[in-house]
């Protein structure tokens, strides 16, 4: 079985990478993952302020700033892409089947 874990919070704390790295609980969790040998891919996302939401309706690409506001949409999958810039990510997102009735939220990975 493969699982995608969606790590969620309300962004009020948003520790820096360094703070996260120094946190004992986080260190223990990472060590545990390594010991189990289970991690295929992991990425920390930039806060929602850096998010862009893409929808395709009748062949038109609709781009909105921020995360999709109507939270009736649930995450149904995760794809990680490595591309040139946001415009290319929008182009890729707009081509996904689900963009035609749902939405694809683009969140830059915190590198």
């Amino acid at each position: 079985m493969k699982y995608v874990l969606l790590i969620c919070d309300d962004e009020t704390r948003s520790p820096s990478k360094e703070e996260l790295k120094a946190d004992p609980t986080h260190q223990a969790w990472e060590a545990d993952l390594e010991r189990r040998g289970v991690e295929l891919f992991g990425a920390r996302l930039r806060p929602t302020a850096a998010a862009t939401t893409v929808r395709s309706r009748n062949g038109e690409t609709l781009v909105a700033d921020g995360p999709f506001a109507e939270t009736k949409d649930f995450v149904g999958g995760v794809v990680v892409v490595d591309c040139a810039d946001l415009d290319e990510a929008i182009e890729i997102a707009a081509g996904h089947l689900y963009a035609q009735w749902g939405s694809v939220e683009i969140r830059p990975v915190w590198e």
Partner: protein, 406 residues
């Protein structure tokens, strides 16, 4: 070759208006660092004020300022270890340090304006960023223009710049397939800036001048696109009527405006710019709106206005950019060309649809048409409803006047 103080001051002011956006755009292009670009542009203008009285005003102030800003950026990056990679990029251009570049400086302002107006940025951030980086308004000036606290506006600019960097918004003019959508965003930003200034009589007036200036730059940089010209024409034609729009703080409708106060030179320029756009034979909402404004501008009074033509243009606009406000304007034009009952029928239909609930111009338009039709009691009720919804003092005074005249 010294220059007198006042001549330098005038030259720097002119350069600030004409070259600020270009200097910032070039520096962002080189360093991709928006804050650094703004700081170095600021330093370059300060250096101009300090050295031009001694050395004389350079023959090409823009090139001088760009070179000065670039040298400043090089200095700052040299002191910063993380700046080394950027420095290598800058080094290519720094070879001719101290002298203006040989050829023309490539105009980066188009890249800057499309990046500022990227749809992944919140709309109000696009407006603020455009005014800051292209027009060179200070954060305090932008905050004042939009009746926002300066700290809020500063936050908005910081967040927008951070998003550009973190989300990877490219610094470029979008490719052809994205151009129509992205250009629409740029035009909407410029038109909003204009309207913010236009709705206000004194304090924010400078915004209309900034918007017209930016529209001129955009039209010049995109000579094969008709809509930037259409927007410029629309702004010029509206600006021409500004002086007659209010009288002592009371709104004056088009019908009652003193047309001798309209600025004929602006109207002539607006019409010429519109003709240039229309000659490209690719219509668009700004060209249609400018054509409507031109119909009004050409008429000596309301009675001799070409209302059938205006009604047809509003119908075209409604097809291109559907909006209940456009439908309301069309209803007025229909009332003027086909008679009040035909117009009122359209307004009533709009009212029933509920699409303009709470918008004061709906009952105000109804009231005006009812008054023309001699239905005084109904007109009075509609004016009272409009008065209740009117957003500002100028409109309330106008409506009160109308109510008293019944």
């Amino acid at each position: 070759m010294t220059a007198p103080e006042h001549a330098v001051r005038a030259a720097v002011d002119a350069a600030y208006r004409d070259e600020w956006g270009q200097v910032v755009a070039t520096l962002i292009g080189l360093t991709r660092d928006w804050d650094l670009a703004e700081d170095c542009a600021q330093d370059a203008f300060a250096a101009a004020l300090a050295t031009w009285p001694r050395d004389g005003i350079p023959s090409r102030p823009g090139a001088w300022l760009t070179t000065a800003a670039r040298n400043r950026a090089t200095d700052r990056l040299r002191r910063d270890t993380a700046g080394n990679a950027k420095l290598r990029q800058l080094a290519i251009l720094a070879r001719d340090q101290g002298e203006p570049p040989v050829g023309e400086i490539p105009d980066d302002r188009l890249r800057l304006i499309f990046t500022c107006c990227h749809p992944a940025l919140p709309f109000e951030a696009r407006v603020a960023l455009t005014l800051r980086t292209l027009a060179g308004l200070s954060t305090a000036e932008i905050a004042k223009a939009f009746l926002t606290a300066e700290t809020t506006m500063a936050q908005r600019l910081v967040r927008a710049k951070r998003k550009i960097a973190e989300a990877g918004i490219p610094y470029r003019v979008p490719p052809a397939e994205l151009l129509p959508e992205r250009l629409a965003s740029v035009l909407a930003v410029l038109y909003l800036i204009f309207n913010e200034g236009y709705s206000d009589q004194d304090s924010r007036r400078a915004l209309t001048a900034e918007a017209i200036h930016l529209a001129r730059v955009l039209a010049r940089l995109m000579p094969h696109e008709p809509e930037p010209l259409g927007l410029l024409a629309l702004m010029l034609l509206n600006e021409a009527r500004r002086a007659s729009r209010t009288d002592d703080g009371v709104l004056v409708t088009l019908e009652q405006q003193d047309r001798s106060r309209w600025d004929r030179a602006l109207i002539a320029e607006g019409v010429a710019v519109l003709d240039q756009a229309l000659a490209m034979r690719r219509g668009g909402p700004y060209q249609v709106q400018a054509a409507i404004a031109a119909c009004h501008a050409a008429a000596p009074d309301t009675a001799s206005t070409d209302w059938p033509q205006i009604a047809a243009l509003y119908a075209e606009l409604a097809r291109m950019a559907p909006s209940p406000v456009v439908d309301l304007n069309r209803a007025v034009a229909v009332a003027m060309s086909e008679g009040v009952p035909a117009g009122l029928a359209l307004v009533d239909e709009l009212a029933r649809s509920g699409r303009l609930d709470g918008y004061y111009l709906l009952p105000a338009t109804q009231a005006d048409l009812l008054r023309r039709d001699g239905r005084t009691a109904e007109a009075q009720a509609a004016y009272e409803e409009a008065l209740r919804l009117a957003p500002s003092e100028a409109e309330r005074r106008y409506l009160t006047g109308r109510l008293n005249d019944l």
